[in-house]
C-alpha cells in the first residue's frame, strides 16, 4: 500500500515545461512563451484568449501534433521528443482533439463513417463490432438519427458534435477542445456544457473513468460555472488564473479586460 503522499500526488497526463509554442504556419513565430503547465487526471481546464492569441497552436502542441520550439513536452509521463514515431502515435491516441469551426470532418464520408474510421484503422475491428461502438458514441453525442448523413449536409453545430463523437471513439483519457462553443445557440451551448460535465464525471462509454478536459475559448463566461481550472493566453504570456474563486477575485488587468470584452 502506498504512502499518503503517493495517493495524493497523481502523475500528470500532459506537461509542458518552459515551452515556447510556435505557429503551425511559421515555426519561427513564437506565439506563447515559457509555458509551464500540467494537466492532472480529472481536471477541467478552460483556457481563454482573444483571436490570434495562439489558442489553437497551444492546443495542438499540447496534443503532441506540433512540437514546441523549446523545451519539454510530456504525454503520460513520456517526453514526446524522445519517442519513436510509432510510440508517439500510440501515446497520442490517448488524447482526443476536437478542432474548432466544424471539427475538420472528412467531407466525403457519412457521420457514421467519420466516427468509425479511427476504430477501424487502429483496432481493425470486424464490421459488427465497429457498428456497435459507433452506435454507442453517436448516442452519446445525440447523433443517432444522423449516422447515415453526409457531413457536408450538416450545419456547423451538428458537425461539431460529430467531431466530438469522432474524438471520443477511441476512448481517450484526455479531451482537448478548440473553442467548442463558438457560434452555438444557447440550447446547443447547454448541451455541450452538460455533456462535457458528464464526460468529466465519468461516462459509461469511457468505463466511468473521469475524462480530463481542456477547452480553449474566446469567452470565459459560459465556462465560469463549469470548468474548475482557468488560464489565459495574452500577449504571448501564459497566465494561470487558478480556480473559480481565484477567477472572481483576480485583479489581473488582462483578465479584467478579457472578461469585460
Amino acid at each position: 500500500m502506498g504512502s499518503p503522499s503517493e495517493s495524493v500526488v497523481a502523475a500528470p497526463l500532459v506537461e509542458l515545461v518552459a515551452a515556447n509554442v510556435v505557429s503551425a504556419q511559421d515555426s519561427d513565430a513564437v506565439l506563447v512563451e515559457h509555458v509551464n503547465w500540467r494537466l492532472l487526471p480529472g481536471e477541467y481546464w478552460s483556457v481563454g484568449g482573444l483571436q490570434w492569441a495562439g489558442k489553437s497552436d497551444w492546443l495542438t502542441t499540447v496534443a503532441g501534433l506540433q512540437r514546441p520550439a523549446t523545451w519539454h513536452h510530456f504525454l503520460f509521463g513520456e517526453e514526446t521528443a524522445l519517442l519513436s514515431q510509432p510510440e508517439l502515435v500510440a501515446t497520442r491516441l490517448r488524447v482526443g482533439l476536437v478542432f474548432e469551426n466544424g471539427g475538420r470532418l472528412f467531407t466525403r464520408m457519412t457521420v457514421g463513417e467519420n466516427v468509425a474510421l479511427p476504430l477501424r484503422y487502429h483496432r481493425n475491428c470486424p464490421a459488427r463490432e465497429t457498428r456497435e461502438a459507433v452506435a454507442a458514441v453517436l448516442e452519446l453525442a445525440g447523433l443517432t438519427e444522423l449516422g447515415g448523413q453526409m457531413t457536408g449536409q450538416l450545419n456547423r453545430s451538428w458537425r461539431q458534435r460529430v467531431a466530438l463523437a469522432r474524438a471520443l471513439a477511441l476512448q481517450p483519457e484526455v479531451l482537448l477542445l478548440d473553442n467548442p462553443l463558438a457560434g452555438l445557440d444557447p440550447r446547443q451551448t447547454r448541451w455541450w456544457l452538460d455533456t462535457l460535465d458528464a464526460l468529466n464525471a465519468g461516462h459509461a462509454w469511457l468505463n466511468h473513468r473521469p475524462l480530463a478536459l481542456v477547452a480553449t475559448t474566446d469567452d470565459l463566461a459560459p465556462w465560469r460555472a463549469r470548468a474548475r481550472q482557468f488560464a489565459l493566453l495574452e500577449g504571448r504570456r501564459w497566465i494561470a488564473l487558478g480556480g473559480r474563486d481565484d477567477l472572481s477575485a483576480s485583479g489581473d488587468p488582462a483578465l479584467r479586460e478579457f472578461l469585460a470584452a
Partner: protein, 288 residues
C-alpha cells in the same frame, strides 16, 4: 521647319542610362536560373516524397488492412474500371490512325511482312503504355490533386494526424498501388482493342492480309521481355502519376485559390516524369 517645337532626340548616353545593362540576357539568365532551381527543388521534393511512400508501402502494406485494402480496390475501380469506355474509344481511334494506316502503307510498298514488328515497337512498347498513362493522368490524376488539395486546405489531413492515421498510408499508398494496377490493366485492354480494331480497318481497306498472318506477325515479333517491361513500365507510370499528384495535393498546405495552380504543375511534372521514364525504357529496349 520649327526646330524648337520638334521633340528633342534622346542621345545614346541618355538611352543607355534608362536601360539596364544587357537587359535581355540578364533577365533571360535569371529566368533560366529560376527554372533550373525550381526543377531541382521539384525533383528533390517529389523524390523525397516517393521514398517516404515507398517506405510506408513496404512497412505498412498490411497494417489496418480492413481500411486500406478497400481503398486500394476503390482506386483500381476509379482509375481502371470506370475508364474502360474511354480506353475502348481510344483503342478504336489508335487502331484506325496507327494500325490501319500503317499496315495499309506497308502493304502498298511491299513491306507487309514488317507489320508485326512495327506494331509491337510502336504500340506495345511505346504508345500503348503512354496513352493509358496520359488518359489516367487526365481523368484521375487531376482529380487527385484537387481532392487532396481541398482536403489539405480544409484541415482534413491534420484531422487524420490527430486521429493517429498516417496520411501517406491512408491517402497516398492506395493511390500509388491503385494507379499502377489500373494503368497496367488499361494498357492491356488498350492494346487488345487497338490491334483488333486495326485489323478491322485493314480488312475494310481490302488489304490482302489474313487474320492469321496479321496476328501471327505480331506474335512472332513479341518476346518475353516485352511483357516484363510492359508490366514494369506501366507500374512505374502509375507510381509517377500518383506520387507527383499526391505530392502537389499534400506536400504543402494550399489555399483554395492555389489548388488550380498545383493541378497544372502536377500534370506538367507527371508528363515530364512519364516521358523521362519512357526514355529510360527505350534505352533498355535498345540494349536488349
Amino acid at each position: 521647319m520649327d526646330v524648337e517645337n520638334e521633340p528633342a532626340k534622346p542621345s545614346a548616353a541618355v538611352l543607355a542610362q534608362g536601360v539596364p545593362e544587357l537587359p535581355l540576357s540578364q533577365s533571360y539568365l535569371n529566368f533560366v536560373g529560376r527554372q533550373i532551381f525550381r526543377f531541382i527543388q521539384a525533383v528533390q521534393g517529389v523524390g523525397a516524397f516517393a521514398l517516404i511512400t515507398l517506405g510506408v508501402t513496404c512497412t505498412k502494406f498490411n497494417t489496418s488492412w480492413r481500411v486500406i485494402h478497400p481503398l486500394i480496390r476503390s482506386q483500381i475501380d476509379r482509375a481502371g474500371v470506370r475508364l474502360l469506355p474511354g480506353v475502348v474509344f481510344l483503342g478504336l481511334a489508335l487502331g484506325l490512325v496507327i494500325v490501319g494506316q500503317t499496315v495499309s502503307m506497308l502493304n502498298k510498298f511491299g513491306a507487309g511482312q514488317y507489320a508485326g514488328t512495327v506494331m509491337v515497337t510502336v504500340l506495345v512498347r511505346e504508345i500503348g503504355p503512354l496513352a493509358a498513362a496520359l488518359l489516367v493522368l487526365a481523368r484521375v490524376g487531376t482529380a487527385i490533386v484537387i481532392e487532396l488539395g481541398l482536403s489539405r486546405a480544409q484541415g482534413e489531413v491534420e484531422a487524420l494526424e490527430a486521429l493517429g492515421i498516417d496520411p501517406v498510408h491512408y491517402l497516398v499508398m492506395p493511390r500509388v498501388i491503385g494507379l499502377g494496377a489500373a494503368i497496367f490493366s488499361l494498357t492491356v485492354y488498350l492494346l487488345i482493342v487497338t490491334l483488333l480494331s486495326g485489323y478491322l480497318f485493314v480488312f475494310v481497306q481490302d488489304v490482302p492480309l489474313t487474320p492469321a498472318d496479321y496476328f501471327g506477325q505480331i506474335a512472332q515479333a513479341l518476346v518475353w521481355q516485352d511483357f516484363a517491361l510492359l508490366g514494369l513500365k506501366t507500374l512505374v507510370f502509375g507510381a509517377i502519376i500518383a506520387v507527383v499528384t499526391c505530392y502537389h495535393g499534400l506536400a504543402q498546405r494550399l489555399r483554395l485559390e492555389q489548388v488550380s495552380d498545383a493541378t497544372t504543375s502536377a500534370v506538367s511534372q507527371s508528363v515530364v516524369g512519364c516521358v523521362l521514364a519512357d526514355a529510360l525504357f527505350i534505352v533498355v529496349y535498345l540494349l536488349m
